[in-house]
Symmetry: C2
Subunit: 248 residues, 2 copies
DNA sequence: CGGTCGATTTCTGTATACCGTAGACCGTAG
DNA sequence: CTACGGTCTACGGTATACAGAAATCGACCG
């Protein structure tokens, strides 16, 4: 008996029953990334309860999920606090992001079926360009950029890698949300062009060229954000100095 | 001195208030890694409740923690199940492990103060050699090997990287626990010698040599485990074939 | 005799209630 | 005026209780 065993059927789920905990987690993530809940703010469970309209257990579960994503930190007997990123945190996020992206490309390239594999990447780029032309808000443009990179990482078909990368992207959004100076004010067209060149590097089939293109792309930005933060460590400061020299 | 975030410093906590959820998570992890709970087994919350002597909320929290560590998977309305690793899972674990270890070394090297930085690594190696001479059980030897590698990764002072690496090690233990064929039956002395050579590579100060040594070390083993598993994917099979060729 | 439909049982998901602890505030004493 | 101690409040941790959904088993029908 038992041919259709339990473990599968997760992928092709027809209907997704919206669990309260997941909805609460989604709402809280939006609140944090949207700046409604500011870094360092104490997250009192009962307050969130009446704010979200659900009871404490789902709220607690959602908070655990956010802790896993690195958006909040727990103080053992004192509750959850929205994460305050230090300079060292940004160092960790950026270095790990670069490392994971490089690893993903190394595993994914050469693509077995470039045309089919790259379809999601092309779609993400199309969204990005469309939003740029339509003059959509900067925040959305940033998110679409994240989606593009996520599609690239997903080329490796590596769930653990993709999951960790997604979590890092959330933390990068947290980083952006607090720092208005991060409005790089790059033109949408230039942003799209840079991403298009990445796609072209992937389409070329040249592994080393693609790796170099993504490495170069990843090394951009974030310096302005880091400058405004405390909490440096020897490691992060050394790295920051290197980056500053390279960028100059 | 302070490299952790200001408010916590969980390491030097004088009194450690043992939360029931954490104790339950620890107990469940031990049960799973010890084979008491087998892969594919349904984890009924009420059963665990009476088995662990705590109520459901802590149990649920512990299960979430284990889900985060990748030891159990959740089926939306059907509860938690001990993870059944597929061949593709092992592919993911090993590739990500290698990638993270390499990244950690790249970030850590060259060491700023080799003598002080390497102290934890030396301690871990000493434990390993002592256990080998004392003829301690193979499982302990494996765990001490993990501790050695964790100490190496921690050289990078990269909490996110270390955390992800630790999670992967748990999944590797899960992999080992089910597969008795993984008793490589390497002599304890040989095991210790291989790790000692890694330490020496770190002490040499030669960055490239250290990277090469760890890469070589990481490429060992796990082939036997993979062979006995289903669930291959094009990516994992391609990778496995490469590894098999390289090892031959 | 096999398949399908329905009822029962069990388990997850959610809500409410209680307890212990930690932080804050105030009072008093030096 | 400052510092220390006690109490008080409020929040997190934990337990119990309830509702809805899914799986299983049995019965009925084809």
């Amino acid at each position: 008996m038992r041919r259709m065993n339990a473990p599968e059927a997760a992928a092709g789920r027809i209907v997704a029953p919206p669990s309260m905990a997941r909805l609460a987690a989604e709402a809280l993530r939006a609140m944090i990334l949207g700046g409604e809940l500011q870094p360092g703010e104490h997250l009192v469970e009962t307050r969130l309860t009446e704010r979200l309209g659900v009871s404490r257990p789902p709220v607690r579960e959602a908070l655990q999920s956010l802790q896993h994503d690195g958006l909040v930190v727990q103080h053992p007997r004192r509750g959850m606090v929205v994460r305050q990123l230090t300079r060292h945190d940004v160092y960790e996020i950026v270095t790990l992001r670069d490392g994971l992206e490089t690893l993903a490309l190394r595993l994914a390239l050469p693509l077995t079926d470039p045309d089919a594999d790259l379809a999601p990447v092309r779609d993400a780029l199309a969204d990005l360009e469309r939003a740029g032309e339509a003059g959509t808000g900067g925040a959305t443009l940033v998110e679409l950029g994240y989606a593009f990179h996520l599609a690239v990482v997903d080329l490796a078909r590596h769930e653990r890698l993709t999951g960790t990368y997604r979590s890092l992207q959330l933390q990068m959004q947290l980083c952006m949300s607090l720092n208005v100076a991060s409005r790089t004010q790059e033109s949408p067209a230039g942003n799209a062009a840079r991403h298009r060149s990445l796609l072209e590097a992937l389409e070329s089939g040249e592994v080393d060229a693609a790796l170099a293109a993504f490495a170069e792309h990843g090394h951009r930005s974030f310096l302005a954000v880091v400058e405004g933060l405390d909490g440096g460590t020897p490691e992060s400061d050394r790295w920051l100095a290197q980056r500053r020299d390279a960028g100059a």
